[in-house]
Symmetry: C2
Amino acid sequence: MQLFFDPETVALIGASATPFRPGNQLSQNLEICFGERFYPVNPRTKKIGDRDSYPSILEVPASIDVAIIFIQASQVPKAVEQCADKGIKRVIIESGGFAEVGPEGKALHDRCLAVAREADMRLWGPNCMGCINVTKQKVLSFLIPMMWQGRFMPGRVSLVVQSGMLSAGFLASILYKRPFGLSKVASIGNKMDVDEVDLLEYLVSEHDTGVIAMYLESMGRGRRFLELARSTSKPIVVLKAGRTDFGREAANSHTAAMAQDDRVLDSALRQAGVIRVRGMTELLDVARSLGMVEHRGQGRARVAILSFSGGAGVVASDMLHDHGLELAKLRPETLARIKQVFPEWMEPANPVDVYPAIEKHGPDEPIRKSLEAVMEDPEVDAVFIHIFAAPVDVPLFNYGHMSRILEEYKKQMVVWIMGAGEGAEKMTRELEKRGIPVVDEIGKGVRIIAALAGRR
Amino acid sequence: MQLFFDPETVALIGASATPFRPGNQLSQNLEICFGERFYPVNPRTKKIGDRDSYPSILEVPASIDVAIIFIQASQVPKAVEQCADKGIKRVIIESGGFAEVGPEGKALHDRCLAVAREADMRLWGPNCMGCINVTKQKVLSFLIPMMWQGRFMPGRVSLVVQSGMLSAGFLASILYKRPFGLSKVASIGNKMDVDEVDLLEYLVSEHDTGVIAMYLESMGRGRRFLELARSTSKPIVVLKAGRTDFGREAANSHTAAMAQDDRVLDSALRQAGVIRVRGMTELLDVARSLGMVEHRGQGRARVAILSFSGGAGVVASDMLHDHGLELAKLRPETLARIKQVFPEWMEPANPVDVYPAIEKHGPDEPIRKSLEAVMEDPEVDAVFIHIFAAPVDVPLFNYGHMSRILEEYKKQMVVWIMGAGEGAEKMTRELEKRGIPVVDEIGKGVRIIAALAGRR
């Protein structure tokens, strides 16, 4: 797998000089990332950008680490054969029109595979967007160049996506909405040969990857997948689509995925410590938070809630229950410490409704003291803080103090900010810089706490 | 209820001249909304802003439609008595410290109520943020003035919130994140006298309200609530917190709410056609969408999906199943019409994966023709469109055409835009202007389609 992500020389069969065509975007990306070590192949043109175009892969005057094929499906088997003849060992087919379109496509699929097996070649795709090495800024994919240039932030999260467009969509969401650090991105499509298990094996051992997030429509080689999941301490987050009859029907026409009984799968994944999510935003939110925190839990999450709003505390409590988490039973000593900053008429409980205390003392003391008290309580594994951000920037947190107690107690902390504007944005930046995930919905916060809690 | 929302004269017992205190924010709001018809009461000061301050409500030289009380709980019963002596028939207690804090608070509660019953007075609160008439810009609440001034947009959605802070949080989310038109906003707190049933009765008959959204921690007078729900064609969306043991525990310490068996409640609400949601963002999203669309469904939702991404189609299909909706079985005629714009190798199905057709023809024709085909299909009740927005503004929709077929077929349409930036923002504005809700997550889109489907 390493060679797919880190080639020195690449060729593109189906390079295009026509602006806005995916084949042109691919050419531009390879030009940007590989310069003169990029060899475009297209018999109908002489130049692709600044590069000479070769009429066939066989005429490329260099040894090629990875060839990308992006031509009509019917022409692909021949191109794979030529790659084999040239001794290329890694080929990515990004074109669609294979097993997902019926028997004819399946025949093309089989021919490509037979050639690859014979030639000891690994085949990636088809019907995919290839791969991206964010760490080394190598983009073997037809993303629009302006979409990623200057925006990729190297980091700990690697992403494996079975669907083509979706991987572009995921990247757009990450890069334009809530940027976070990425390591490797893989779009695997129909999984003719290279599959999620190959990727998982690679990412589990790959140094830069700390968190593995996967969108899958089918899972093959399940035993090996689960073995790998159990073998690693890196968190693995999986969105397995095609959970239901409707989804399975849709998945079959999409990537020719034959889905399995979901309940069996669900319990196997759970036992192997895989974090399963149901939505795409959820996949990104959870992976992003896991990539941000220093310490994960030991499997149990007894949660203390500090809230500006009793109502939000109630909703969060319901949601803890939905996720199988616990509302922590605070110790009497903890409650007594919190009582010191509470107004006389009010008895502290979990959720800790800090707002009346803030009305009395201002925000610093009530938040700082309540937070310290619950973090120190051995009955608490994680703290969920709710804050209401005024449209203007009112400092609510003592960030230095939060960093210190996070380091001291190594518990999980997630903050939900209700409201928007400058104040909310600044708080979000400051908290996340310190490894404290910030969410804009209670449900997302509870989901993230569940994921940070670690294996059961 | 009308008089609470539309008084001519108001008094504030507990007016404050100290900046940043809630009593000062209340004073400022009443000054802005009522000018010289606002009478501040505070024995320790002579002036509140430009107004003379009265030492007691009894000395106010005018007949008062609504008095707001915002002083220490222990002083409230006396103030209520004085209001009764002055013949005031509508009183809002915004202070906390009553039944939610135990027996002493409960005694204060009982005294206030006894006075009110004797004097034929309606009591609102305590432990709440009062009410807001957005249509007439009358704010009887301690929101920060800069938060709402120039931001309230009159519209069809009315909001009833049992929690104080939460109503401010809801408003901040609405005004600062995704503004939508509001009619009345009510924060009812401990519901000493005025409760959600009073509000529901009022809002069901009130002309400006088209959609009723409620956050409740307890529901009393259930039979009457359900009767009212059944009697109206206005959609009612309810977030009932305290669904679970944890939530009930939290609700009890928050608004002294004694919660009931949730399963019984759930089925009763469902039978009365109430739309139940579980999260706060979900409440706002659903209410906002209901406030935007012209036509609701007849109870069934057979959904056609038009998608840029096969993967997103699979995830959406799973989620339709989760919500008890159906993936529409498109008629052969419909599939044949879509096939005309599809590449030769691809057979249309639902979800309709339009991207390959767009690669072939550009976006206009495939989207327009597929959309027309599914909207015309009698097997389809609603259409869920997925679009991937590039960071730049690429026109994907023919908005005029969308408006026309929406008007012609009166079916529901929801658009999910993946990606962000200028293109996404512009599309969102243009679509929502035409009554087509736009979401940024598939799950939200499916939730909204379920709500728009109407009663079962």
